[in-house]
Amino acid sequence: MINDDRVARDVIVIGASAGGVEPLMTLLARLPRDFPAAIGIVLHRSPFYETQLPWVLGRHSPLTVVEPADGVALERGVVYVAPRDQHMLFEAAVVRLDRGPKQHRTRPAIDPLFVSAAAAHGPRVVGVLLSGFGGDGVSGFLSIRAVGGITIVQAPDDAQFPTMPLRALKEDHVSAALSVEEIAAALSVLAPGGALEVGAPRTPA
């Protein structure tokens, strides 16, 4: 059972890398218009190319998907996508952008979003790691768990590139490993403070 203490998990942070666009599109398409949580997304991307990423990710979604400017208000029902060449941080009331040192050789990186969200929002945070390569997101997951948040990975057999979910499963006590469709359903339960009937995932060898 996840969230049997019925905390509103209304700050959702999602990290993805290679093979991440499709699951992100699916996930956002399956969340309702009045979704009662703020969502932050870091997708590993080139720092040099302006793409229409918010438009792509939000094509089939009823939610507002934006690349925020530094200092915009953090609001429920809005999806914030980290812009190229900037780390995105969730503070208590605002979104911060920071062209600080690359982490895991990339900017934006997943860890700065996860770590900042955990520090500012504690147990309200749900971290999600989708398809991808590398170790980005593991430190962030540990930070989220340390403050009583929930961590969910895309099930390895559901991910195009399962390295990132597998790393997290190995390094952390991840709350659940689910398909993208199941993650969307889980977030819809968790955001308003519902409890989720899911067994803990097996730790990979």
């Binding site: 080139s46 720092p47 040099f48 190319y49 302006e50 793409t51 060449d85 920071d98 062209r99 600080g100 040192p101």
Partner: protein
């Protein structure tokens, strides 16, 4: 000294005034295709189009900034620890004061460079592509 040589020609490499981002060797340039797109090549044939060259130069630039920030930060920290250590290890008051002032100076320089890196905005290379003018 120029960066791009005058009279860049199709299919004939001319030496440029800039170095290869990957090996620091001499970079040459020619044009190719309907748009006379620039193609850069060094002696060992690291090869770039214009967008790739700009991206690689931006990456080298940032690497160099961080190398300098590290050098400044290390020196600042070392001097600051010497200030602490000096009191009990026979340093003169003048030497300790000199350490302190220099630690502060290079510390400020490190912060100034961090601010510069933080404010850098490399150009969007989406349109710096061979053929981008043709397809608008």
């Amino acid at each position: 000294m120029y960066a791009l040589p005058p009279g860049i020609a199709a299919d004939r490499l001319e030496v440029t005034g800039i170095s290869c981002p990957d090996c620091r060797g001499v970079l040459a340039v020619k044009s190719e295709g309907r748009d006379d797109s620039l193609v850069f090549e060094c002696r060992v044939q690291h090869t770039y189009d214009l967008a790739e060259l700009l991206a690689a130069k931006e990456e080298r630039l940032e690497d160099n900034f961080w190398a300098t920030i590290t050098a400044l930060s290390e020196l600042s920290r070392l001097l600051a620890e010497l200030v602490e250590r000096g009191r009990d290890h026979g340093e003169t008051a003048e030497a300790v004061q000199a350490y302190r002032e220099r630690a502060h100076q290079v510390g400020e320089q490190a912060q100034a460079l961090r601010d510069i890196v933080g404010g850098n905005r490399p150009v969007d290379l989406t349109r710096t592509q061979p053929g981008s003018s043709a397809i608008g």
